[in-house]
């Protein structure tokens, strides 16, 4: 049996996390992990929604050493929680906030952890084959699609990332993230990366630009900021004085070259974009200010099968088709030309038109309905969905309330247009340009006119 350590830090005194200005050693971390592991219920599956990134990491590690599987769904709506329970009846929720409303058996992260350190503590070794996480995409018919992640593949993935980023083994970096640890990108780059590259995470999840700045200031140098095009643009527009950074990472959506140049100039650090997906994990990087081409991680390869490009090799255990339009340049490099049309990605939350339409049409009172994704105005701004519905018995607010239970709020349509019928063709299909024309016609009208109820 091949085993891999839970943390790659070489001494128990090294720092694995920064929390409210205090360093947390590997020893303290392992003590917390053992304490929490003893509290975990019998269920095999954990929905870990801890907001504090350190709590999340302890929850993940406690699950791993107890041979439990962490579930990472794309959203936490009541509908998704039900789906998780249908997937694994024994799932329980680990959380760290007092008003958790997840409808599952709950375990509150301990408010106080014991100070006691056990003697002869050693770093746990984990079977490389052990299933440690199941990550879900939203699927096309309402039920989420599961993707299993073994410890070995996750470790291989973030270690390839660490060497690509050039993280030197004898420097202890602080890793600060503006994205939640429950998102695949945050899971890899803000939790697994520090654990498996001898570095330290920051427990905070700063929200406003000023919070990002103060979190950076409170965390020792050298610092890596793990963020998104949205957060980076707002951070720059806030014109705050940024503390010294060693590296900036961005993912979830492509960054424009102009924003990449601005980020590098303001942060005085290289900005690397990461390309990946829930199914594959991260598979490529690029330094956007210098090249448009993406460079695959070592051993990962792209191959064409039929219409799709598939990723395989390296940490990608079974070949996976990619949902993007990709032009391969050579064995190691490729260009990205946008998403295949059905796929929706809003601020890192992913769904498909098929899935969203399924949920819209499942709402009682909706006779027909369709979502529409307008053309993107700019890479660095978030584009929102519109929707047209035939639902004479519903008001906008009842329909939105019903949708909110089923889909992540970022996908809620704006505007939501009530129409008499959808321009379906003779085969029942709804051509995109017909829908676009219909919406343009309505938006051009006086908003207050009869027959048109709006989102808010």
């Amino acid at each position: 049996m091949r085993t891999l350590p839970l943390v790659t830090h070489t001494s128990l005194d090294e720092t694995v996390a920064w929390r409210k200005g205090t360093a947390i050693s590997v020893e303290k971390f392992l003590t917390d992990v053992a304490y929490l592991a003893a509290l975990l219920p019998h269920g095999k599956h954990v929905l870990n929604i801890c907001r504090d990134r350190y709590h999340f990491m302890v929850g993940l590690a406690a699950a791993i050493i107890s041979n439990k599987v962490s579930l990472l769904p794309p959203t936490h709506t009541p509908e998704m929680v039900q789906q998780l329970q249908a997937f694994s009846a024994d799932v329980f929720c680990l959380h760290d906030n007092d008003d958790c409303d997840i409808a599952l058996p709950q375990l509150r992260y301990p408010v106080v952890m014991p100070e006691h350190h056990s003697v002869n503590m050693t770093i746990p070794q984990i079977d490389a084959q052990q299933l440690v996480a199941i990550v879900f995409t939203s699927g096309s018919t309402g039920a989420p699609n599961p993707y299993s992640k073994s410890w070995g593949s996750l470790v291989q993935n973030v270690q390839a990332q660490s060497s690509r980023l050039g993280l030197s083994a004898n420097i202890n970096y602080s890793i600060i993230g503006t994205i939640p640890p429950q998102h695949m990108y945050g899971f890899e780059s803000t939790v697994l990366l520090p654990l498996q590259s001898g570095n330290a995470l920051s427990s905070a999840q700063p929200f406003y630009p000023a919070d990002i700045c103060s979190t950076l200031e409170a965390t020792p140098s050298p610092r890596i900021l793990v963020s998104t095009p949205l957060h980076l643009r707002l951070l720059l527009e806030a014109k705050l004085k940024l503390p010294e950074l060693a590296l900036v990472l961005s993912a979830t959506a492509p960054l424009s070259t102009s924003l990449a140049h601005k980020v590098e100039a303001s942060c005085k650090a290289p900005l690397l974009e990461i390309y990946g997906s829930t199914e594959t994990g991260q598979i490529a990087t690029r330094r956007t200010a210098q090249a448009m081409e993406w460079q695959l991680l070592p051993e990962v390869r792209l191959t064409q099968h039929g219409e799709h490009i598939w990723a395989e090799g390296g940490h990608v255990e079974t070949s996976v088709p990619l949902n993007d339009i990709i032009e391969t340049v050579d064995l190691e490099h490729f260009l990205l030309h946008g998403r295949t049309q059905d796929l929706i990605n809003i601020a890192g939350k992913r769904s498909s038109l098929a899935n969203l339409n399924h949920h819209l049409n499942a709402v009682e009172g909706v006779i027909d309905g369709a979502f529409f994704m307008p053309d993107e105005v700019s890479h660095d701004h978030v584009t929102r969905l519109s929707a047209c519905v035939v639902a004479p018995s519903l008001t906008a607010s009842t329909l939105l309330t019903a949708l909110r239970v089923r889909i992540d709020p970022v996908f809620l349509p704006r505007p939501l247009l009530f129409v008499e019928s959808l321009p379906r063709n003779s085969t029942g299909k709804l051509p995109r340009d017909a829908l676009q024309k219909l919406i343009a016609g309505y938006i051009g009208q006086d908003i207050g006119s009869a027959g048109l109820k709006n989102t808010r």
Binding site: K20, A204, Q205, P206, F207, Y208, P209, A210, D211, S214, L230, H231, L234, E237, A238, L240, A347, V382, L400, T401, R404, P409, V410, L412, P415, I447, N454, T455, R456
Partner: protein, 89 residues
């Protein structure tokens, strides 16, 4: 609410409606209804966009300081009070 905050409240509501292209009339926003989630229906992305406009207009930086990120946006009244307390212009 402090008397002269009512002008500020209208102004803040107006900024929000403009920044997000809302179809809601300023006068229709219930000052005590949640802005985030149910109610006006803003999400985290909207809040960050509005925060940017507000910080530029009033010369302040919004801070959640590890509290609930959306607390300042729990209602128009709370947001207005926050602006009134922290504004520098």
């Amino acid at each position: 609410m402090i008397e002269n905050n009512s002008t500020l409240q209208l102004e803040v509501a107006e900024l929000m409606v403009q920044a997000l292209n809302l179809d809601t009339a300023v006068a229709e926003i219930d000052p005590d209804a949640p802005l985030y989630g149910d109610g006006l229906g803003l999400d985290s992305i909207d809040i960050l966009e509005v925060a940017l406009v507000i910080s530029k207009r009033y010369g302040l930086q919004l801070k959640a300081d590890s509290e609930d990120n959306h607390r300042i946006f729990s209602s128009l009244r709370n947001l207005t009070d926050y602006v009134a307390t922290h504004k520098t212009k």
